[in-house]
């Protein structure tokens, strides 16, 4: 039986101790150990056996996998469960099995190397002693809240007891994993050793414990320092209210699971009644696990896992080329941002810009970001200077023969770009790639500047590059699979989420965003105020910023320019509100010249709405007569409408998965909604069509808001 092979006892005779039961996790047909139901049942069986056989003096739990201890519960199982009863049964069973570990009469040692997450972490919490390798693969924590659930196998109860309230909240509420060094510092593990010594040192640990008599222990956290003694005891309510405030701020109230976890911890902290505490945890778990939010967050998790496994060209076996040195043309905001992200991941970067001052600015951008990390002690001064050393630059093509790829981020002008690409290609090796970071020009057209267009593609980053995870990888007509795959893998190496898209106006994300921004301008025209619209999107819908703030970020001139390009490409369905025409002439460029819909301070932080803008755009004082629901629906449904065209008519991307991933990673579309198409399916396509029809007739907007045939023909995006 495979489950018997995946988890078994290997008895071990230890000097000074006697017989030790090694429970070894080594899942067959999988690189990861997961706590699926069969494995949990098998674990129970083994624990019963250990309990029965009085020859055993101690238990060691370890894993045979090179990078993973136990990755957590089986997400496939969680995904398949829908009713509270299913969850109740599974969680109750898990809790009772981990209780068995805690209740064994002999001491249990966890010997940890590799990822120890979620249920894996809850398992080691139920053990008496923990030893871990100091390897970078060893990461311990409880990421459940990231998936919209909470630790349900006793994690909410046992972690605060072991590491204290403050450290536990830090891990559970943010869904964090920590490395071995941190884990040891907070008391989550007792000992830390080199991976090669782990098994010997685990045995030594058992022997050391037995020297003082074979005892179980229930480690409880002892706060250090007067302030911590207060905060972990009499003043714990301060910690709870502080944590609540921070969580509310971080989640804008859209993510219930961290708050639920907080409640559980508040109710169970320092309680001596284990059964009651676990019951509270179980109830809370079942409450959040059945929500759409959890399902949606698991969907987003699946999407990111999908990217990890793919190579950018489905069904094609192709080897991506290794990128060791990367060049950048144009040391502007985007060029500088890409330089930072690449060098941060250990890729050598060479920037070319005709203007030495621009080069200096790009160097400074990277320098300052790393400097901040050094101040926060994320980097030490040696790591800091190693990163700094990876970026160099010049005003000529020096070094270009050594570069594996060059990313072009110069002025958005087809003629100039084609010329520069031809010139650059002449200075590079024939097998090197050039990628354009254009946001609005045709990649296929641009590739005509390259003597070998198969080595040319789009690599579209989003601003600010170090914060926005999305990269659109744009395939030109002649781009080779190898080039696409190389850029896809490079994006991943740079810590980004790549989505391969077909060439076309605005590619995917900008194409979907533009109708949304254009619609916001119509809302403004119809008497809505900037703050009401933006707040509706942020507070009610969950966007990181509203459309007006977004337009300021992108640059108002850019928005209008791109809208006009779209008008040319898509015809009448792209409409500019009269206030946009006025905006064009107003000299307001948004954040970059600190004049837009909002005020900006000297550090470029967004302030209040600039109230003078209404007059500047020939608008009357806002009346705010349109409901928040309509504001949101008109913008979001316009995006869904365009999405149907992009996906079904033009096949810009292959599946709705890519749309959802791109919108979440590129625009901050609320992850708890699962992405644009997931959301559309939730409210149902027929409702979207019905509302679009209503708005288009009411607002005399038949051109821009009428539902597209592609949308009307659709039952749902996900079938």
């Amino acid at each position: 039986m495979s489950v018997n092979e995946s988890l078994k006892i290997i008895p071990l005779q230890v000097e000074g101790v006697g017989l030790v039961a090694q429970i070894v996790f080594d899942m067959k047909d999988s690189s990861a150990n997961k706590l699926s139901t069969p494995i949990m049942l098998r674990l129970r069986e083994l624990l019963q056996e250990v309990d029965r056989n009085t020859n055993y003096k101690a238990v060691i739990i370890n894993s045979k996998k090179p990078k993973i201890f136990i990755a957590g519960a089986d997400i496939d199982e969680i995904r398949s469960m829908t009713s509270p009863d299913q969850f109740r049964e599974a969680v109750g069973q898990g809790q009772s099995i981990f209780n068995m570990i805690e209740d064994l009469k002999i001491p249990v040692f966890a010997s940890i190397h590799g990822a120890c997450a979620g249920g894996g972490c809850e398992l080691i919490l139920a053990c008496d002693y923990r030893i871990a390798s100091d390897d970078s693969a060893t990461r311990i924590g409880l990421p459940e809240t990231q998936l919209g659930i909470l630790p349900g196998f006793g994690g909410c109860v046992r972690l605060p007891r072991l590491v204290g309230l403050q450290a536990a909240l830090d891990i559970i509420l943010a869904g964090k994993l920590v490395n071995a060094k941190k884990a040891q510092k907070m008391g989550l593990i007792d000992r830390m050793v080199h991976v090669n010594l782990l098994s010997d040192q685990t045995i030594k640990f058992v022997q050391d414990v037995f020297k003082e008599g074979p005892h179980k222990r229930r480690q409880t956290f002892k706060p250090k320092g007067f302030v911590n003694v207060l905060l972990e005891g009499p003043l714990k309510t301060v910690v709870f209210s502080q944590a609540r405030k921070q969580t509310l701020k971080a989640t804008s109230g859209h993510y219930p699971s961290p708050l639920k976890a907080l409640q559980v911890i508040q109710k169970t902290f320092k309680s001596s009644n284990r059964e009651r505490s676990l019951e509270i945890e179980k109830n809370a778990f079942c409450e959040v696990a059945v929500t759409d939010i959890s399902k949606n967050l698991i969907h987003v998790y699946d999407l990111t896992e999908m990217v990890k496994k793919q190579n950018g060209v489905p069904g094609v076996q192709v080897t991506a080329k290794e990128i060791k040195a990367l060049g950048i043309l144009g040391a502007g905001t985007m060029g500088g941002g890409v330089a930072y992200v690449a060098a941060d991941k250990g890729i050598r970067v060479r920037i070319k810009d005709l203007n030495p001052e621009a080069l200096g600015k790009a160097f400074k951008h990277a320098h300052d970001l790393w400097f901040k990390l050094m101040k926060k002690r994320v980097l030490d001064k040696f790591q800091f200077s190693q990163k700094i050393n990876l970026i160099s630059g010049g005003t000529d093509y020096a070094d270009f023969k050594n570069l594996d790829i060059v990313i072009e981020a110069i002025v958005e002008d087809m003629g100039i770009k084609q010329k520069v690409i031809a010139e650059t290609a002449a200075h590079m090796r024939p097998d090197a790639i050039i990628a354009t970071n254009t946001s609005s020009l045709s990649v296929t057209e641009m590739s005509k500047g390259h003597p070998r267009p198969e080595y040319f593609a789009g690599m579209h980053f989003f601003n600010p590059v170090h914060k926005m995870p999305l990269v659109e990888v744009i395939r030109g007509e002649k781009t080779s699979d190898e080039t696409i795959s190389t850029i896809y893998e490079l994006s991943k190496k740079m810590g980004k989420m790549p989505v391969v898209v077909k060439d076309g106006p605005g590619f995917l994300v900008n194409r979907l965003l533009l109708p949304y921004m254009a619609e916001a301008a119509f809302l403004l025209q119809e008497g809505m105020s900037i703050e009401v619209v933006d707040q509706a999107y942020v507070k009610e819908f969950g966007m990181p910023m509203g459309p007006f703030a977004l337009m300021d970020e992108v640059g108002l001139d850019v928005c209008i320019k791109v809208l006009k390009i779209f008008k040319k490409a898509f015809g009448d369905r792209v409409e500019l509100a009269p206030c946009m025409e006025a905006l064009e002439k107003s000299g307001r460029l948004g954040k970059k010249n600190k004049k837009g819909f909002y005020h900006y301070d000297e550090k470029d932080y967004r302030g209040e709405v600039d109230q003078s803008i209404y007059q500047a755009l020939n608008l009357t004082t806002p009346t705010n007569l349109i409901s928040n629901q309509e504001c949101i629906e008109r913008g979001v449904f316009a995006m869904i409408n365009e999405c149907a065209r992009a996906l079904k008519d033009d096949q810009i991307v292959a599946t709705p998965n890519e749309v959802d991933l791109a919108m979440i990673m590129g625009t901050g579309f609320p992850p708890f909604r699962g992405g644009l198409t997931k959301y559309a399916d939730k409210v149902t396509i027929s409702y979207v069509v019905q509302q679009l029809e209503k708005y288009s007739s009411q607002k005399n907007a038949s051109k821009r808001l009428a539902p597209a045939p592609a949308l009307k023909n659709l039952k749902a995006f996900y079938i």
Partner: protein
């Protein structure tokens, strides 16, 4: 032509800046990194080809004791490639080239990076030995009473140190040890480098005016070279951390509008009564780095490089430490002999300007049969040097002399100028504190 000819592909350097100015905060390893990083870029060098990195340095910064390795790794040289630091005082960066030459010539290696880096601004000031001794004892002390006694002693020592600093008496045993000053004092003869130049000035009857005029010319030639952009191709521009706002693109030492009047007003620094050596006719203490890429001819060919020059021969020679400034006169005939050439074959010379008096002294000694017979054991003079072919783009008096880097700087300047003027043979030579001379003879590659 032979496969084992040692050729120089290209070279580059940072701008040089007077100590305590533009580059004072940049670590010498960082200066070296910038120069080397740009050399790699400029030559599109595949770093996996590099066999060795050899860097000259005299300051020996305590946090980078083998600074060559730090420079190499920071600049992107692979970890598998070895690197070491050499120290031959003022000729350290010529020593690095000669090391590379031997390794390539012998067939041991094919690709070597040689150079030098120095930040004289950052040479440390050390505790006076008396105080340091107390300090060491305090570290070792165990008993509290002993510790307290030593702390009290340290405190008293500090007061004495402050007194010594205020009195300005360098010889006071409580005066802190200033590394730069120590480095410029000959440990054998016990005199300062400036005083060695005073000896030459007096023995060769070199007047103050002669020296000041030489210094003026050095500035004029250097300023002209900067203005015409003639030496732009040997300097890398350098946006300076941490704000990267200013890009240093040229040497800061050469003074436009330098006048003989201004120079003649300066007081002699080393001999107040009868001296002629001033801060104006000596080279300033300077920060900077220079590197070059050398290969065997066969490797250069297989990689498709067109070298700038080939090394025909080099030599180092010794003389009286108190006349160290005449070093070039001793090493040059040996280098010429090894190159199979005579002084009359040489069309361009870089003779490092430690002091105007010392350069003028060298020119006189080169041209003297008597000197050749008495001092060099030669039948007749080494040869006449036409002043118009010496230091045509100015010298260290204007540009500066970062001790560990100059050797490479003059070789880079020489080979690039040889190319521009189409000169077949060139000589780079410098005097070395401690009583040595170093010379290298180059042939332009067609």
């Amino acid at each position: 032509m032979s496969a084992r000819d040692v050729v120089i592909i290209d070279g580059t350097r940072t701008p040089f800046a007077k100590s305590g100015t533009a580059l004072k905060k940049i670590h010498p390893a960082e200066l070296g990194k910038v120069a080397l990083r740009e050399l790699i870029a400029k030559t599109n060098l595949d770093v996996s080809q590099v066999d060795e990195v050899i860097i000259g340095n005299t300051g020996n910064p305590v946090d980078s004791v083998n600074i060559a390795r730090v420079v190499a790794l920071n600049a992107g040289i692979l970890q598998k490639t070895s690197a070491y630091t050499v120290h031959r005082n003022c000729a350290s960066a010529l020593e690095s080239i000669s090391n590379g030459y031997e390794k390539i010539k012998s067939g041991t290696m094919d690709v070597v990076i040689a150079g030098g880096t120095e930040n004289m601004s950052q040479m440390p000031t050390l505790l006076p030995p008396k105080i340091q001794k107390t300090f060491d004892e305090l570290f070792a002390a165990k008993a509290t009473a002993k510790k307290l006694a030593l702390i009290w002693q340290l405190f008293k020592g500090d007061l004495k140190q402050i007194k010594a600093i205020l009195s300005g008496n360098f010889r006071d045993e409580y005066f802190p040890v200033i590394s730069v000053m120590q480095g410029l004092t000959d440990p054998f003869a016990g005199i300062n480098m400036g005083q060695t130049a005073e000896i030459i000035a007096k023995e060769f009857n070199i007047s103050r005016l002669e020296q000041d005029e030489f210094a003026l010319k050095s500035h004029q030639k250097a300023v002209a070279a900067i203005k015409s952009g003639r030496i732009k191709d040997e300097i890398v521009s350098f946006p300076m951390p941490p704000d990267f706002k200013t890009t240093l693109t040229e040497d800061t030492g050469p003074r436009d509008g330098q006048t003989i009047e201004a120079l003649s007003k300066l007081k002699p620094f080393f001999d107040k009564l009868t001296g002629t050596i001033t801060a104006g006719n000596s080279c300033p203490i300077t920060d900077g780095a220079a590197v070059l890429l050398m290969m065997s001819r066969e490797r250069a060919q297989s990689l498709g490089y067109k070298p700038l020059a080939r090394i025909r021969g080099y030599a180092f020679a010794g003389l009286e430490p108190e006349r160290m400034g005449l070093g070039p006169v001793y090493s040059t005939p040996v280098a010429l002999k090894r190159a199979g050439l005579l002084m009359k074959d040489i069309g361009l010379v870089e003779l490092n300007e430690a002091f105007a008096a010392q350069v003028i002294g060298c020119m006189k000694a080169f041209d003297s049969n008597e000197f050749a017979q008495k001092k060099l054991g030669l039948g007749s003079k080494v040869g006449t040097l036409d002043p118009n072919m010496v230091n045509v783009n100015g010298g260290a008096i204007a540009i500066g002399h970062p001790v560990g880097a100059t050797g490479t700087r003059i070789v880079v300047t020489l080979m690039k100028e040889m190319k521009k003027r189409n000169i077949q043979f060139g000589l780079a030579t410098l005097c070395i504190g401690g009583g040595q001379g170093g010379s290298i003879v180059l042939e332009q590659e067609a």
